[in-house]
């Protein structure tokens, strides 16, 4: 199936729930509303054989968080994108559809402070135990100043 055929098929199937972009060969970027995420993922899995989730990327856009689910099939790469508001970052879990998503969802929780509703195991994944609450390193407003190197003896 070529990219154009697949896009037509997806458009006919999912209607205006998705916006589809195709910036490069094999690469499909699908944009869905947060509410449709689980439904679209289920549909993609059942009808298009999209089962391999590579990772979940979060991007801090300033006013909103963008979450991208990178799937791949042997013919195409599906990148399912959704945007959630920054002041109430909540998204539904897709572990009910793809059980292997659990670690990536935990990572997104840690890094961006996004709350994943219904996650079966919501413990911290990467941040240490004594990491303060409410600090999420990959948000753009989180910065870290490296302390200046001090050489014993005074010279630099």
């Amino acid at each position: 199936m070529t990219d154009a055929e697949l896009i037509d098929k997806l458009k006919a199937d999912l209607g205006d729930r998705v916006e589809i972009a195709n910036p490069a060969r094999r690469r499909l970027f699908l944009k869905v509303a947060p509410g449709d995420l689980v439904a679209v993922t289920t549909r993609l899995r059942d009808a298009y054989g999209v089962v391999l989730l590579s990772t979940i990327s979060g991007v801090d856009l300033g006013t909103a968080f963008e979450i991208i689910y990178h799937f791949s099939t042997p013919e195409h790469d599906f990148n399912l994108r959704t945007e959630i508001p920054r002041d109430d970052p909540r998204v539904a879990t897709i572990t009910t559809v793809i059980p292997g998503a659990i670690l990536y969802e935990r990572e997104v929780q840690d890094m961006f402070g996004i709350v994943v509703d219904g996650i079966p195991d919501g413990r911290r994944l990467l941040l240490s135990d004594d990491w303060p609450e409410g600090q999420h390193p990959l948000r753009k407003d989180w910065t870290h100043d490296r302390p200046k190197e001090v050489i014993p003896g005074g010279q630099s």
Partner: protein, 400 residues
């Protein structure tokens, strides 16, 4: 008797820190849990503050074993963002290093698997022969671990005829040795007894838990990015995806050795068809706004880098997924109902690269940045004080 045993964060079977908490009854594991986070360096955050040239070397340091895989994955993406068309000779050299790295990584893993099974002679012999490919890489790139041969738009070093001859000679020796190890690994009774039927992972589990790389291929899941999404030179090469259907550690050994044999084939083809011409094209410092998903088949499975550019010379966002992270959920399943004795083998069978999987979180702050020398006596005092303040916790629970 039911108790929990901690494997890690520091344990002789683990070369890097990770914590596996096993609930065991006698010698049988009933439950397993994995905890990450001991090895965070904040690569993703740091990448946002560095320019594309610097990021090549940064991504290279995500992993020590498959260093070339991450930098290639990143450079591939950046070249697409900058709309560059790197010269063919450069591409051949870049993916030649890729395949050599795959050989080195798989041989390393094979030795480690032997060591985890207590088969130290096997380990020594495999690692001795791995020196050949390490020396080749050192000769081509100028270093043994971090090759630093990638640059945006091509590679940094060229090959000459003498080097080509040496590569072919080394590959011929290695092929003979690999065939011997394949034969030995499948025939030495005590080794086979340890790896056959251990760490079972069915195809359904592979699919639902999104396992990748040789772990998945040993269960008959024949997906390989080089085949399904042939980047750069792979559509010009003739190779096969190695799979096995035994679903156990033995299958993973066989898959890896077969992949190494395929890599020899590819290297010979690349050496034969190496085109003439430039090795790199000139690259701009800035990339236009846009985004790209770059995939690469690393020795351990699929690497995926998502790069978002914002028009400056620094990326807006770099997301890195190393294959090991994708294999952790599968590992937990594999460990269940195994023996304690199988833990290192099962865990090693995914070829874990822990620092790869944990690249991305916090900057470890060196508190004050000042260095001081503490005498042993003082250190001892501190340690004693620490012990007094935190008395021995019996039946302490894992703080989670």
């Amino acid at each position: 008797m039911k108790f929990q045993i901690p494997i890690g964060p520091q344990h002789p079977a683990l070369k890097e820190p990770i914590s596996l908490r096993m609930t065991v009854e006698g010698e049988v594991i009933t439950d397993a849990d994995i905890r990450l986070g001991y090895n965070h360096r904040g690569v993703e955050k740091v990448a946002e503050g560095k320019n594309y040239i610097q990021n090549i070397y940064l991504t290279e340091r995500i992993c020590g074993i498959c260093s070339h895989s991450h930098s290639t994955c990143f450079v591939q993406g950046v070249e697409k963002l900058m709309e560059l068309e790197p010269p063919k000779r450069g591409m051949y050299i870049r993916y030649l290093v890729s395949e050599l790295e795959r050989i080195h990584s798989h041989l390393l893993w094979l030795g480690v698997a032997g060591h985890e099974a207590g088969f130290d002679s096997f380990f020594m012999y495999v690692w001795r022969d791995r020196e050949i490919v390490m020396d080749l890489l050192e000769m081509i790139t100028g270093n043994r671990v971090h090759y630093a041969i990638n640059t945006v738009g091509g590679v940094r070093r060229d090959l000459d005829e003498a080097q080509k001859a040496k590569i072919l000679e080394g590959v011929a020796t290695l092929r003979k040795r690999s065939e011997y190890y394949l034969d030995l690994g499948a025939n030495e009774p005590s080794f086979v007894a340890r790896i056959a039927g251990v760490g079972l992972l069915s195809l359904e589990q592979v699919i639902s838990l999104c396992a990748v790389g040789p772990t998945a291929r040993a269960s008959g899941w024949d997906r390989d990015v080089r085949k399904e999404d042939p980047y750069a030179v792979y559509d010009e090469l003739d190779f096969e995806v190695a799979t096995a259907d035994t679903c156990d550690v033995l299958g993973r050994v066989v898959v890896r050795i077969k992949e190494v044999l395929e890599a020899y084939k590819m290297i010979e083809q690349m050496m034969k068809n190496l085109p003439d011409g430039d090795i790199a094209c000139k690259a701009p410092r800035k990339a236009k706004p846009g985004e790209v998903v770059s995939r690469y088949e690393a020795p351990r499975g699929e690497n995926i880098h998502y790069i978002k550019a914002n028009g400056t010379d620094k990326p807006e966002r770099l997301k890195v997924r190393a294959p090991t992270l994708g294999n952790y959920p599968a590992t937990v399943e594999m460990l269940k109902n195994g023996f304690i004795a199988d833990i290192p083998l099962i865990f090693a069978a995914i070829d874990p690269c822990i620092c790869c999987a944990e690249r991305a979180v916090t900057l470890v702050s060196a508190r004050t940045g000042e260095e001081s020398v503490v005498s042993t006596a003082e250190l001892r005092k501190l340690a004693l004080a620490r012990t007094k303040n935190a008395p021995v916790k019996r039946n302490a629970v894992w703080p989670l």
